[in-house]
Symmetry: C2
Subunit: 155 residues, 2 copies
């Protein structure tokens, strides 16, 4: 049995104001587009609310991320904890803080994640890479690229 603890911070700048970035986290349909893993996404975006995202590992095992929202400050901050389970095995427990800071016409997003990795089922480098990947998808969503040529009906 092993446990590994690590923390990383990613910063990204998006060319839209904080309210628009916040809405992409708060609206279930929008979040599913850029964050959903393709096999189901449920989001109850309020303090105490839960989020469940289902996907597959590269070798086909079911993967489930279950989050609980602890702190939500509109247009400014979101804090949630997540457990990631692959097959029946708990891989990680994490706390993620997302801060949105006005930056000229746009928004600087600062994401800090504290991860507890259990028994080597997941690795810090994979997690940081994966998080960077979905922040890139968020960027495409905010540029209108994920909602299709006809635009989004959700907002």
């Amino acid at each position: 049995m092993t446990v590994l603890h690590s923390t990383f911070t990613l910063e990204r700048t998006y060319p839209v104001p904080p309210g628009q970035v916040f809405a992409a986290w708060a609206d279930p349909a929008t979040k599913a587009r850029w964050f959903g893993a393709g096999e189901g996404h449920e989001l109850d975006f309020r303090v105490g609310g839960r989020e469940l995202t289902r996907g597959r590992t590269p070798d086909g095992k079911p993967l489930a991320a279950a989050s609980t929202y602890h702190d939500i400050v509109r247009d400014e901050r979101i804090v949630y904890t997540t457990t990631l389970t692959g097959g029946d095995v708990l891989a990680t427990v994490s706390t993620t803080t997302v801060e949105l800071v006005p930056d000229g016409e746009g928004t600087r997003l600062v994401l800090t994640e504290q991860d507890t990795f259990l028994d080597g089922a997941e690795e810090p480098a994979w997690r940081e890479q994966g998080t960077g990947d979905w922040l890139a998808k968020l960027g495409k969503e905010l540029a209108g690229g994920l909602s299709g040529p006809s635009g989004s009906a959700e907002g």
Copy 2:
């Protein structure tokens, strides 16, 4: 609005085997003796189970620690997340890993806590001090000192 992230690790050695240390975390009556803050303690010690501890701040405000257990390996490991709320204000979100390692006749306990501190309501030094205080109380409990002269009926 501020957010501060920090991680600390405390190590303690107790002169009893891991099974006895584990039991002091798992049994609600025993845990209440060394961990309970005096105004209520509820513990449902299983994966997905919750713990609620009520107390007071030094200036009399209600304090509530609510934990969820994510990983329990008998006699070896416990992982839980906790929110600490003072008055109506969320102060911290944390993940705590407790590892129990046989050490001769006794047990080495390694506690690692990853803390997210919101808006300065709590401070890293206080948290580490407080955690050290209750690990000292655990030591007294394991030495029979908190269960009274007639000993504990719970075990």
